[in-house]
Symmetry: C2
């Protein structure tokens, strides 16, 4: 997070950036309101400091929309439905919009029945998982969000990428404290960390990645060639089989359960077809279990106890999941978003191509 | 797993062992049918090779029942209920029985509404988390099971144990393959691994534990004194903050949401009071999302592809979560359970004290 700050960056206001992205989507025949919505999701990641999942990915979405590999009009359908479950077909629309719709229905049903779970098929890359989990927060609910993805992780004891980096996010409301927002890939690190180590010419720790022959490596360039990230924990002795288990759980709930593609099917089908990505969402109403105010007091007790607990030697303090992104959002909403110059260049190029004035 | 096999062990049949445990519980005024049920849960862990969570823990339960710190009669109450949610008060009964009841209701409601989530308060140590998640399997459902526990993990950048080892289990049916059963503490390793390293006189890897001053250590004895296990991932650079996030999520869903004790409250209240432990359970009906047979075919495809994927250098093959326990169960049901001699001695002592014939 915040890897860009101060390093050759260009400042831009969140609203101007969002307006730009919306106009680009509109040029690609995304209906105006949908374009605004999708842009809001994308820029929200930049605002929260999750720079890897914001407008840095715009070229990818533009390319897929342009080639017709993502439908410009998102039109989901509810394939199956019961009191606390939905199966959604995303109609190959934008992952951001498919996911928002699915989560909206989840929240509505959880309001009636206490909880609701959703699986989604025929969708696309949805950006940062936290967004959809956090949609539950203002409704006094716990939100859950997961997605599968193109294979990047090998199983423990294996050397071939068989499962995606498969992130999972969980958001839980608090009172005066920042809400608990865990958003994590199930791999030890994201691919971007290899790129940073490579740029800086430093060795990676054991447990991040394998080389192209499937052997452990500490050379970031070899790791980038290998395109194989080790599951959370890394080596077996540090619990890598647990990360592998979590990654596979996400693959099953998002892919197998929904009827989306999963595992090596992504490799077999190649990149030049609709992706048929799968997601899983959940909403759990606090009210069904607790008095909401009492719950929030408990959350504040737990979170603040962690924050004031003794720091380890050499550390200033303890953080809670989502706290840094929460603080980042406050700052960036006021002072603007520092965009990496490569990302800014890409936006200018897209602006030029689609005749949309670029704010950077 | 299977740490005991061949190392100074005594063989005992699962049925004889279960009968013994049930009789001991009955002597402690647990009603006959409840005693049989609780014994079945406990011995199931031994049968699956999870020796740390089976009858090795009997002395703990016996001691708490004997002191009246766990109620001998388990009588749960449904405090709140909606179509897809329940809040259960365990009445300070045996964690095994409280958890079975809660999961039974979850499964019933998921059958009607597609899914159901449960939180539980006023319960006790429930043994192996997988048991309750696996209850969903014969119903064609995904099962989820979590519990909080006495603090053992520090937050990332912290040095004081603030959160329990907080295991989570997820069970998902397959067709001809062994079901997917992930059962993991959210710490890098279980405490037992430190004890094994200590016995064998080997150093621990970095990332397992802190010493009593809250500093990283590779000395198993210092780690045991510290009673502080690092979250999954271990160090920050190997993703330890993700393990910390998962552990805190479990603490919130089990403790804060249910009204159970959580965090340092366990330390403050001490050990000589009812524990007020919290759990979280979930059931998700496959039928609400998919044709069950088609889903199981997808599971078999995914799991078998993993199992035949290229092994890393020096490894024989890839496994899937729960596979080893599944194979272990088949063997131990036939050939008996190899009990560690210390565990066997403890059982004999308990048998002597309560006048129950011990099968080992």
């Amino acid at each position: 997070m915040n890897d860009n700050v101060g390093k050759d960056t260009v400042k831009v206001g969140a609203e101007a950036l969002q307006e730009f992205v919306a106009q680009v989507f509109a040029r690609l025949e995304v209906p105006a309101l949908q374009a605004v919505e999708a842009a809001e999701v994308l820029v929200n990641a930049d605002v929260r400091g999750v720079d890897s999942h914001g407008v840095a990915r715009l070229p990818y979405y533009v390319d897929r929309l342009d080639k017709g590999l993502i439908e410009s009009v998102t039109d989901i359908s509810l394939v199956r439905e019961s009191g606390a479950s939905i199966l959604v077909d995303g109609g190959n629309g934008l992952g951001q919009l498919v996911s928002k719709r699915a989560m909206e229905i989840c929240i509505e049903k959880a309001g009636m029945n206490g909880s609701c779970m959703a699986t989604v098929r025929n969708s696309n890359h949805f950006g940062a998982a936290a967004y959809y989990a956090m949609m539950a927060l203002p409704h006094g609910m716990v939100g859950i969000s997961m997605t599968n993805a193109y294979p990047l992780q090998p199983p423990t004891f294996g050397k071939k990428a068989m499962i995606g980096a498969n992130p999972m996010a969980v958001a839980i409301p608090a009172g005066t404290e920042a809400p608990f927002v865990l958003d994590m890939s199930t791999s030890t690190v994201a691919f971007g960390k290899l790129e940073i180590a490579n740029r800086e010419g430093t060795a990676m720790p054991h447990g991040w990645a394998l080389d192209k022959d499937g052997n452990p490596t500490t050379d970031p360039r070899a790791g980038m060639e290998g395109r194989t990230l080790l599951p959370l924990g890394g080596t077996r002795e540090l619990g890598g089989h647990k990360g592998y288990g979590l990654a596979l759980m996400v693959e099953i709930l998002c892919g197998v359960l929904s009827g989306a593609a999963f595992g090596l099917a992504f490799v077999e089908q190649g990149l030049e077809v609709p992706m048929n990505l799968g997601h899983f969402f959940g909403a759990i109403s606090l009210q069904a279990f607790s008095q909401v105010e009492r719950f929030k007091e408990g959350m504040d007790d737990m979170l603040s106890a962690l924050k004031v607990s003794s720091p380890a030697q050499g550390q200033e303090r303890v953080y809670t999941a989502g706290e840094l992104e929460y603080l980042c959002e406050r700052e960036r909403r006021q002072k603007g978003i520092p965009l990496n110059h490569v990302v800014a260049d890409n936006l200018r190029q897209i602006g030029g191509r689609y005749d949309v004035a670029c704010p950077v």
